[in-house]
Amino acid sequence: MIEVKNISKSFPDKKVLNNIDIVFEAGKTNLIIGYSGSGKTVLMKSLVGLVEIDEGSIIYDGRNFTQMSFKERKEVRKEFGMVFQGGALFDSLTILENVLFPLNMFSTMSKSEKLDRANFCLKRVNLENVNSLYPSEISGGMKKRVAIARAIALNPKYLFCDEPNSGLDPVTSIVIDNLIKEITQEYQIITIINTHDMNSVMEIGDKIVFLYKGNKLWEGTKNEVMETDCKELNDFIFASELTRLIKKNKV
């Protein structure tokens, strides 16, 4: 369980997060949604320690991450997997080397075991025969899948995905969403996803948190989203004619 307790973060000209309080549970896909600039990315970067929060605490299974030293955080971070918006694959390494990278850094496995594990992870995300290619030689969707394979290589307890569907076509987006959902349930990990994608909300949102101007305005499940009376959330989710039609038909 990840407990986010009253965290706040300000930058010199703006308060980006204001008293955010959330609990993320294992085996669930937790979606953080909101307008651009609502604080989603800062929240996610705060969770993983890339941004230092001003107030509050972040607790990973009883361990207060906020109060940890650099060395202690380093240990907890070995339990993290993160899929960045652009994939963040290492350009100078092949696909296989990218997936092997965390294993080479932290695993005590033998060379052949590491290779087996990397190949298993690549196969798990439906990628085969791309091992020797470089990131620049594969498509955006494949990059995202490699990033997921790299993120799960060390069997993380916590998986963070920053807009995993951005720049992908609707079909590939659904493939990525389903993959993340399957992995979350299969390994009973805590997955937190930043997204703008309403398909993701409807498909895999076990828990949805809506951020609005740095505040947590709403939280609930994908079913509850349809019936919410939160005006800002309705404006955000049902912004298009199509989504309004879906809602109308469902209601």
Binding site: K45, V48, G49, L50, R73, K74, E75, R77, K78, F80, M82, F84, Q85, G86, A88, L89, F90, D91, F101, P102, M105, F106, F160
Partner: protein
């Protein structure tokens, strides 16, 4: 260790070609310019060889080559690390619990500091050879006089001085450039800017330290 070996190739070995080319031409030019300026028949021609040797050791192979490498290696390091920063590759390393600065920059510093003295030694020899070839082929100095010049009044400490400067300048190039890349933020434009800043700042710091080290090491 693998990382250091890769950097030895990227930061060091890949610069060998440009160092050889500029050294041979610079040695040739120093010889020809010295020869054309020696109009007094009382001045022995072997001083041309001596002048080329000392110019190469004292200034060219240690400082001017480093200024050229600040352009080549410095911009390369800044843009490589800067691109890793803006494409979140450095964040990815941090998330994995890796000290990104240590992982990315330390091998480059070690490789540069280890390999650059070899480049300086090679540059000195190649430059002196270039001077000999230009001097003999143009008829400005005889082979015997040139060879006598390069052996005349040799001060071994000059080589030590050149190598100390080389090590310091190599450290400056990598650290300044890596700093510019590491703290780059934004997009492609900022990566380009950080690359330019890396070259300008590392060149300026090299020139400043050239004065300081010369005063410290050569002043009596």
């Amino acid at each position: 260790m693998n990382q250091i070996m890769n950097e030895l190739i990227t930061v060091g070995f890949n610069s060998l070609g440009i160092v050889v080319i500029i050294s041979v031409f610079m040695g040739a030019v120093i010889t020809l310019q010295t020869a054309y300026n020696l109009e007094n028949p009382l001045i022995p021609l072997y001083l041309i060889g001596l002048g080329t040797r000392d110019s190469m050791i004292l200034e060219f192979s240690s400082t001017v080559v480093r200024l050229v490498l600040a352009g080549k290696v410095g911009s390369n390091i800044a843009s490589e690390i800067g691109t890793m920063r803006v494409t979140e590759q450095i964040d990815a390393l941090e998330i994995m619990g890796i000290n990104s600065a240590s992982y990315l920059i330390l091998p480059k510093i070690i490789a540069a500091v280890v390999f650059n003295p070899f480049l300086t030694i090679i540059s000195i020899f190649v430059g002196i050879f270039g001077g000999w070839a230009a001097g003999v082929m143009s008829g400005a100095v005889s082979s015997a006089a040139y060879i006598m010049g390069i052996q005349y009044s040799f001060t071994p400490f000059y080589v030590v001085y050149a190598l100390i400067k080389t090590v310091v300048f190599a450290f400056i190039i990598v650290s300044v450039s890596a700093y510019e890349g590491y703290y780059c933020s934004g997009g492609a434009l900022e990566v380009g800017r950080s690359s330019t800043k890396a070259v300008v700042y590392s060149s300026l710091v090299i020139l400043l330290f050239n004065v300081i080290l010369t005063q410290l090491l050569l002043a009596h």
